[in-house]
Symmetry: C2
Subunit: 175 residues, 2 copies
DNA sequence: TTCGTTAGTTCTAAATTGGAACTAACTATA
DNA sequence: TATAGTTAGTTCCAATTTAGAACTAACGAA
């Protein structure tokens, strides 16, 4: 399977990665979250080639993650800003940062700290349950077949390949 | 800059992505979280080539994200299990899944739902502050220079390139 | 003896990437 | 008016990476 077909999988992680799973893309978004918005600034901060950056920005704009907005006319210049869709990737980026802080520390501690304005503390991020507010541990979460799979199955749109790719907890007529 | 030099950047996101930022790697980890542990099962579920999968698994084991443990002898067979380091990527994977659910829905709803055993609800994940428990919004978080950058700077180890790559909020002698 | 299972490795053509130079449309300065 | 500077790209080619398919190895079962 080619990477550009990955979004045909019946899986939200696969679909999400079809948009932001490229090597450089999440680093570009990291820059957006730290206030880097312009082409040359991104290119310098990332060390990506101009060609790659240009290509990735076009894709991110096309997929709705970034908006390209003019910040001056004559000469016309644009900057790249996170859309609402893009802003909601904050949990992904911050989780990655904190995971890197913890596990890939080179002994000097976190390069960047995050202060929560509301409480004033340097924070880590914690994944919490939207319903009860408790921390979400992998062992305390049970995945189950959702409407996305059920409806496709009912309409007979689950191909043989799709069915084979379902996770092992999926039982019964669907798998 | 080549991708295999990306972990030299003074940035935890870059370092994290040097380990899990490959196109297929987060999908492999998704499989691990849903209980897929064996080579052939992963290959089928992902649609990745056997060669790629083999290579990625070796890297993930080398970097400590997965453990390769025997599940039978004669013939000797191994399975791949998340280490503690790997399990702590759960926030990244679950956030990606929920982002995909919300923004890349094809109209049928989430393919997979997550039920929180503690409260019994189908949940979304929310990023919360480790100190006060409130939801962490990007606007309510102030990034600042952490010990990782300061110590490197004090030891004179911040090269010119490193300094140029620091985010715009970093001011003063460091940048 | 032959088939099936699991976990890979090898090979080649095709696609993607990095690096460096080049273009375009302006503005600022001498 | 000539020259340099800024910003945001595009073009080109060599080098690297990937997909797809076939092959290998070590064993167990019929």
């Amino acid at each position: 399977m080619r990477w550009n077909e990955i979004d045909t999988q019946v899986c939200s992680v696969a679909r999400a990665l079809s948009v932001v799973g490229d090597r450089w893309t999440l680093l570009i978004l990291r820059d957006c979250f730290t206030g880097v918005r312009r082409f040359d600034a991104m290119q310098k901060s990332l060390g990506i080639t101009r060609h790659r950056l240009s290509d990735r920005l076009v894709r991110l704009v096309d997929s709705g993650v970034l908006n390209k907005v003019p910040y001056q006319e004559r000469p016309l210049r644009h900057e790249y800003r996170l859309s609402e869709m893009g802003k909601e990737l904050y949990p992904v980026v911050l989780s990655l940062a904190h995971w890197g802080d913890k596990w890939l520390d080179d002994g000097d501690g976190a390069p960047i700290q995050h202060v929560h304005n509301n409480c004033g503390h340097v924070v880590r991020s914690v994944l919490a349950c939207s319903e009860c507010g408790e921390a979400l541990e992998p062992r305390a979460v049970t995945p189950q077949v959702g409407p996305g799979i059920m409806r496709k199955h009912e309409r007979g749109e689950m191909g043989e390949q799709d069915a084979e790719r379902l996770p092992p907890f999926v039982k019964g007529p669907v798998a």
